[in-house]
């Protein structure tokens, strides 16, 4: 339809497509040029690096699969940081889904002040993790922190040393992340809740369904596409924890909070093992990619699309 209303007479019609092609490549050139260097070339280079040994001082040396073999069989530290990372994911994903879904359900009704609550919950996810990490380091201070004060006020004694404890540092980081990110995922759930038609609930009420059974049989199934999306994003997120670890624990105490991304950073930028760090980056990529594929495969069993 639009083709038929192209300018008539001024320029020969045959040339229109050519003109479009030239215009298109002119419009695309700066964008694609940058991506070719800092994305495509960088990916190719990262692949090349993964098969080298290179400390930036002596020339790079091709080592075949040695980096990958070392990661999988000769580096106990890798399994340690993978264990920590999985711990974070296992803690974060369900907790974050539970709090953000809870907040969304509480917020999804006609009450006053909705926009205030929505803004308040969303705020921490907008602010930088670096600043939030400083705030939480202070909150978690075992002697003067607000959190231990609140716990002692509630009657707890023998309070945790949080970031100084190999047992409590990981839960503390998870708590911070749940606090920071729940508002963001709450908004996604809220958008999902608003697509569920009211008449379904009304029909269920006529049939005598209670609050819980409505939630269980209407809300949860119809919300499952959102839940799926949120869990995919959360898993990616929890495998990419870096800034809070860098700021709050530097991987400690005793390596108990060191994540895979932090390990890539120390290998690349403190030990200058460019090849080994690149190989680690690819291993992480493969893990995240596989987890995402598995989730897409598993969704057929539990996600309901209308």
């Amino acid at each position: 339809m639009s083709r038929s209303s192209q300018p008539m007479g001024k320029r020969p019609r045959l040339n229109l497509r050519r003109q479009d092609t030239i215009a298109a490549w002119t419009f695309l050139a700066p964008n694609l040029a940058g991506f070719s260097v800092f994305m495509l070339f960088a990916v190719a280079m990262s692949l090349w690096l993964a098969f080298q040994e290179w400390d930036l001082l002596t020339p790079a040396r091709f080592v075949g699969l040695a980096n990958f073999r070392k990661i999988l069989t000769g580096d106990p530290h890798f399994w340690r940081v993978m264990g920590n990372t999985v711990y974070f994911a296992v803690g974060l994903v369900p907790l974050c889904i539970a709090t953000s879904l809870g907040l969304a359900v509480a917020l999804n009704r006609a009450i006053k002040g909705i926009s205030f609550y929505r803004a308040a919950f969303y705020l921490p996810s907008v602010t930088a993790t670096i600043g939030i990490s400083v705030i939480w380091t202070w909150l978690l201070n075992p002697e003067y922190g607000l959190i231990n004060y609140a716990l002692s006020w509630l009657g707890f004694t023998d309070l945790p040393q949080w970031l100084y404890s190999t047992t409590w540092a990981k839960p503390a980081l998870i708590a911070m992340r749940v606090w920071q990110q729940s508002g963001y995922y709450m908004l996604m759930f809220l958008a999902g809740l608003q697509t569920i038609p009211d008449h379904l609930y009304e029909a269920a009420e006529v049939d005598g369904a209670g609050r819980w059974s409505k939630f269980r049989h209407i809300t949860l199934p119809l919300l499952s596409p959102t839940t799926f999306l949120v869990s995919v994003l959360l898993i990616i997120d929890s495998f990419n924890i870096f800034e809070s670890v860098y700021m709050m624990t530097q991987g400690g105490p005793g390596g108990s909070t060191e994540t895979i991304l932090y390990y890539i950073y120390t290998n690349g930028f403190q030990l200058f093992r460019m090849g080994y760090a690149s190989a680690l980056a690819w291993v992480l990529f493969v893990i995240i990619f596989t987890l995402t594929l598995v989730q897409f495969w598993a969704q057929r069993k539990w996600v309901h699309y209308e």
Binding site: F35, T127, A128, F269
Partner: protein, 282 residues
């Protein structure tokens, strides 16, 4: 009927209780930070904790400022958070226009390939991009801070968002201009862009937030205080101020205020980006 009304009122009451408790949990740490940043060391370590600083120590902010050059950190971040989004929008909008409106061979395949780069996580390109920057002699320069970060996944996403938006603009508007002899560039500039303000604003504010909060890339490319953006500056500051928590928290407050202000004033664009795309702010 009456029973359902009672149930509804009870439900709303319960929801209010939960929401208010949640909101307090979110807001108190921020207020606590500001309050702590204005205390004397003695009051900071008081037990039980006190909320109101007495006396109010504005000098903590002066101490933070003299310890490290926060004015430079802030200035750098403000410039970067405006310049990078502006260039990104220019690059994303022109590409989106080509993908949405122009006919050329291989367009859809190219678009798919372009979108596919969104799957590449930042940690894969971090080391090679650092090496590229090193070869170019850009370590510790503003080029390093501006140019590679333009081409992140968020720009691919911005291009996608704008393309989808451009597709909703009626062809008739453009065709009328074309009949009047307007060039492709002219229709893009005079018809498409002015009709896409909400989408452009959404992309701008999300990109601003990303740049303001960016950390890892400047951390590895910059070690000169005069060129550091605020988050990296804050991380250096945290080690420099060490255990003087009142000063540490004063610096943190300085770093947080701008983005909180932007959020309060640009809230609806954040929400729009979020709801329309499902990924806003990532």
């Amino acid at each position: 009927m009456n029973r359902t009304r009672v149930a509804r009122i009870l439900g709303n009451g319960l929801a209010y209780l939960l929401l208010t408790a949640g909101a307090l949990l979110v807001i108190l740490p921020f207020l606590w930070t500001v309050s702590s940043s204005l205390k004397t060391p003695a009051q900071l370590h008081a037990w039980p904790p006190e909320w109101i600083p007495r006396p109010v120590m504005w000098s903590n902010y002066v101490r933070a400022w003299t310890l490290l050059p926060f004015d430079r950190f802030l200035l750098n971040s403000i410039v970067l958070s405006i310049v990078i989004p502006l260039i990104q929008i220019a690059l994303a909008a022109t590409a989106a226009y080509a993908f949405a409106r122009l006919q050329f061979r291989g367009r859809d395949a190219l678009f798919l390939l372009y979108l596919g780069t969104m799957m590449i996580p930042g940690h894969v390109t971090l080391i090679p991009n650092f090496l590229i920057v090193k070869w170019l002699g850009w370590v510790n320069t503003y080029q390093a801070l501006i140019i590679p970060p333009l081409f992140r996944g968020s720009m691919v996403f911005g291009t996608f968002l704008l393309r989808q938006y451009f597709l909703t603009i009626p062809h008739e508007l453009e065709d009328a201009a074309r009949i009047d002899g307007c060039s492709r560039w002219g229709t893009f500039w005079r018809i498409i862009l002015p009709n896409s303000k909400p989408a452009l604003a959404t992309m701008a504010i999300i990109a601003f937030k990303t740049e303001w909060n960016t950390f890892l890339w400047p951390l590895v490319t910059i070690n000169d205080y005069r060129k550091m953006p605020i988050q990296v500056g804050l991380s250096y500051f945290k080690s420099a101020a060490d255990t003087q928590w009142e000063v540490v928290l004063a610096g943190t407050t300085i770093a947080l205020i701008p983005i909180i202000l932007v959020f309060l004033f640009g809230q609806r664009y954040f929400l729009k980006g979020m709801v329309h795309s499902g990924f806003g702010g990532k």
